[in-house]
Symmetry: C2
Subunit: 201 residues, 2 copies
DNA sequence: TTAAAGAATGAATAGGAGTTCAATTCTTTA
DNA sequence: TAAAGAATTGAACTCCTATTCATTCTTTAA
């Protein structure tokens, strides 16, 4: 034998893989998935298109990983917010406002993750993450019902509804509002969520 | 001149156009937009593919018209429900349950209209119709606030939120529930909507 | 009946983006 | 330094449908 992968090569391959992912992530963050053609990703990553295929079997696999990476961050952020100290209402408010704030910080990315038309297999990832959000909210709702803060309800449905509610308001009124109006819009959404879960007075 | 379109020809052309639209509508209703390739539409309509182009400049135009046709029916149905006699709460309940019932009656179509990945120009139609739903709900919310049935709120935001809420719950929990569970799920969604708009006791 | 104008046909074409692969360059070890 | 094994390259290829258009029917009016 005259060749075996050394740590150095391993490291460089890891770095190439990382570059490709980062390039794709950046393109998606700027122009959505449609802007991330393989040739564009390759150019941005500084490799040939063929090289991408040594790291990702298909474009869909690459996109799925980009989707997971981006979405997981959002889910984690919401999870942290939901896990803070305080009443369930406060934690729900924080979780929701975290979602809103982060979506506003990168609206194109938010659009890509929430609503951009994508390949069905990437859409499957989207559904996974919508469920991940829903699970977090569902747990919070259950807790709030036990503590008596929220009225009795089907937590699974309310959780899904909140996810849909947040997505739609991010794409609709909020994105087109002026910067000064944003805070009040965000406040409206939070108030709406609290009403929806039936916070008792 | 030796040829001029007569009423007979006019009528047949109208009928061909109608066949094409109907074929497309049916395919979309069964398998979504992805199942409605031009060749499939032509076959279903009993014409050659080239013929479609004498009636619709591009596939996108055809799809947009199919989308509008289908969506308008849904919007009209909700509008009727919202315009019945009764309290604003009752009318909201009816509007929401109308939406749910109709979505359940044709789930594939509901998916195509609500969430199937489509061309951006068809997506634009989708946004139009989401706004149409929202407008109906917004008017109802305004009325309910004036009458004192609903708490003060930003009706535009709540309306958008309800649209998102309905769409998400149609795709999530409801579609996968058993037939017997459907009614209770629908009831949960209605109750949720009433809480969200802040129905006063 | 016939010529002009339209309408319909469907095989051929176009175009765009993902994917492949023969040739090339790089790494490693003997 | 050489040879084997990998990795990289990017132009060529593939695939898939939407779209076109030369040809063939139909219809109309003289």
């Amino acid at each position: 034998m005259a060749y075996r992968e050394t740590a150095l090569v391993r490291a460089r391959k890891d770095s190439v893989r990382h570059s490709i992912l980062e390039a794709a992530r950046s393109l998606v963050g700027q122009g959505g998935f449609r802007a991330a053609q393989m040739s564009a990703v390759a150019a941005a990553a500084g490799v040939a298109t063929g090289t991408i295929y040594r790291y990702f079997p298909t474009q869909i696999d690459l996109f799925a990983e980009v989707f997971r990476g981006n979405s997981q961050r959002e889910v984690d952020a919401m999870q942290s917010a939901a896990a803070t100290a305080g009443s369930c209402s406060q934690r729900l408010s924080l979780a929701v406002s975290t979602f809103i704030t982060r979506a506003l910080r990168n609206r194109r990315l938010a659009y890509a993750l929430i609503a951009e038309p994508v390949d069905p297999q990437v859409e499957a990832e989207r559904l996974n993450y919508r469920q991940a959000y829903a699970k977090i909210l569902e747990a919070l709702l259950e807790e709030g019902m036990v503590s008596g803060e929220f009225v009795r309800q089907d937590a699974r449905i309310t959780a899904a509804a909140l996810v849909g509610l947040l997505g739609e308001t991010m794409l609709g009124p909020l994105l087109h509002s002026t910067p000064t109006a944003r805070q009040s819009v965000a406040d409206s959404i939070i108030a709406l969520c609290l009403r929806a879960v039936g916070v008792k007075p």
